[in-house]
């Protein structure tokens, strides 16, 4: 069975007028893959993530989701294809954990915003999967940073998109928490229904858990290879 192509970018140029971050890069991502994006601060990781999630336009080149140019995908359609987890946790006052997770169901809600039994099922599954079931009734604002991170990942999960993009999802977590998240991300792609791209600085953990990295290297530019092939000190 051949794997289905989720994302493809061709001849991508990103950056700003006076500084190119990525010059003429092309790459494909298939369902079932987990890719770690590594590189130094300011090298363009977030910019690349924003470009493939459709939040930013590239300077030139194209981004395609399921072989459709991202600029031709409507916002509603895009919301069912890509979900994101950003580095900054929003300040949400007066909402419980389960309500925040439920916000990820927005693309599927009707005008009145009522949750169907399918919605509730997905939400319950996410709460269990990310280990936040016990705090589901708790106020989101009272959680620790690590728990908030799990809530935001669960929120992206219930959006049920084939592509999930996470910007430094392990930042606020302790060592065990980080390993947990990487394990879960891998689990999510096991059934071959999703692909995940996440950026991270945790090179050791990536080497242990992830098979492919997209790396911004100093000398060789943007490379795609096994994490063990990227030499220490190269990025």
């Amino acid at each position: 069975m051949s794997k289905e192509l989720v994302l493809e970018f061709k001849n991508l140029v990103i950056g700003y007028d006076n500084e190119l971050l990525l010059n003429n890069a092309s790459q494909k991502l298939y369902l079932g893959e987990v890719v770690a994006l590594i590189g130094r601060n300011g090298c363009g990781k977030s910019t690349l993530l924003k470009t493939i999630s459709g939040e930013m336009s590239p300077l030139s080149g194209s981004v395609e989701l399921f072989s459709k140019n991202i600029t031709r995908i409507s916002p509603k359609e895009l919301a069912r294809m890509v979900s994101i987890v950003t580095t900054v946790h929003p300040d949400i006052i007066g909402m419980s954990v389960e309500e925040v997770v439920a916000l990820g169901r927005y693309p599927y809600l009707n005008l009145l915003g009522t949750l169907t039994s399918t919605d509730v099922e997905v939400i319950n599954k996410a709460l269990l999967l990310f280990g936040i079931d016990i705090v589901r009734k708790k106020n989101y604002n009272q959680l620790s940073d690590g728990q908030k991170q799990r809530v935001m990942i669960a929120r992206a999960y219930v959006q049920e998109t084939p592509l999930i993009i996470l910007d430094e999802p392990t930042t606020y977590l302790d060592y065990i928490g980080r390993e947990d998240i990487l394990t879960i991300l891998k689990q999510l792609t096991n059934d071959g229904k999703r692909a995940i791209v996440f950026s991270s600085h945790d090179l050791d953990l990536i080497q242990k858990n992830i098979e492919t990295v997209w790396a911004f290297t100093k000398k060789r530019g943007f490379v795609v290879e096994a994490p063990s092939d990227v030499l220490k000190g190269e990025i």
């Binding site: 916002p75 994101i84 950003t86 949400i92 006052i93 007066g94 909402m95 309500e99 990820g104 604002n141």
Partner: protein, 342 residues
């Protein structure tokens, strides 16, 4: 999905308080009409001719005005607080009231000079002038908000704008004819009275439409809590949201201001009181509940206006709202003195 039972109970309680306040408003005044008389009238009984006239042409309309105005201000306050992610926002604090007032005063001063005060064109244009004033302020705020990282600054600017407009309004008052001055002054003190017939129908239907559209908007409002990036990622069009926020808050605030004057505090306080009682952030419950709270606050204030405290004059609405609202706002500020909510 969640906590709906508890919320439902509190909403029933709110509806009950509205009914009780309604009875009280209909009963209290220079001529006292007993609860029994009112209830029997509601169920088809007869009243004395004078009492029926007082009830129908005066007290019923001020009751409905209070309900409509209170609801409208509360909805508009909640939408502003959520959009600006600032729990001290509200039509009064952000200066949207002032924009509306300025529109009204400019319209009245210029048209009544040429057309005379009772001209139908003047009263028809009144809500429109108010709406334009409100829209202008909201548009400025929405474009300033992303540039201003300090949340208190937006509020300070709203307050400054209020001073600025009250300066202009004072100029208009000082050059206006004597007969206009009194009506300007009375209007600026806020009142739910003297609005009846066509004006009441226009006001309440606009508010009704605005409320229904706001309710349909509530799950989108929920996503705004996540911030622009996340909201966009779940398919919310930020441009459309901005348009709705400007239009809904301006129409609701503008309509109330045109007819009742710049009514203070209700818009800002109602969402707080509701959040405090319901402990909920989900707009699908919060919005209807806040609407009811707004109506309750407005009715309660109106009741105090109607009571003769033995001093022979009635206390203006904004004086009462100031005396009740000031301490409540202080309590909110005190509770959040470490600054996490604003």
């Amino acid at each position: 999905m969640l906590r709906s039972n508890e919320s439902f109970k509190i909403i029933i309680l709110q509806v009950c308080s509205i009914l009780i306040l309604a009875l009280a408003i209909l009963s209290v005044g220079p001529v006292e009409i007993s609860f029994n008389e009112i209830l029997s009238f509601v169920f088809g009984g007869k009243l004395s001719v004078e009492n029926e006239a007082i009830l129908v042409s005066f007290r019923l309309s001020k009751m409905f005005t209070a309900i409509a105005a209170g609801s409208a201000l509360a909805i508009s306050g909640l939408i502003m607080q959520t959009y600006f992610n600032n729990f001290l926002a509200g039509p009064f604090v952000l200066g949207v009231h002032s924009g509306a007032s300025l529109g009204v005063v400019i319209w009245l001063a210029s048209t009544s000079f040429f057309l005379g005060e009772s001209n139908w064109l003047v009263s028809l244009g009144l809500p429109l002038a108010s709406l334009i004033g409100a829209v202008l302020v909201m548009v400025v705020l929405i474009f300033l908000a992303p540039v201003i990282s300090n949340k208190s600054l937006l509020l300070v600017m709203g307050v400054l704008f209020s001073y600025f407009t009250s300066g202009i309004i004072s100029i208009f008052i000082s050059i206006a004819r004597d007969s206009d001055i009194r009506s300007f002054l009375v209007w600026s003190l806020g009142s739910f009275e003297k609005i009846s017939g066509d004006r009441l129908i226009i006001m309440s239907s606009v508010i009704m439409v605005g409320s229904v559209i706001s309710f349909l908007f509530s799950s989108t409002l929920n996503t705004l809590f996540l911030g622009d990036r996340y909201a966009r990622s779940v398919g919310v069009s930020i441009k459309r949201v901005r348009f709705f926020v400007v239009m809904l808050t301006s129409v609701l605030t503008g309509t109330v201001t045109a007819y009742c004057g710049p009514v203070a505090f209700i818009g800002m306080i109602s969402p707080h009181v509701t959040r405090f009682v319901f402990k909920i952030g989900d707009h699908r419950v919060l919005l209807p509940a806040t609407t009811l709270t707004g109506a309750i606050l407005a009715m309660f204030a109106e009741l105090l206006v109607s009571i003769d405290f033995g001093i022979g004059v009635t206390i203006p609405l904004n004086a009462i709202l100031g005396i009740i609202g000031g301490p409540i706002v202080f309590a909110i500020l005190w509770q959040n003195r470490k600054g996490f909510a604003i």
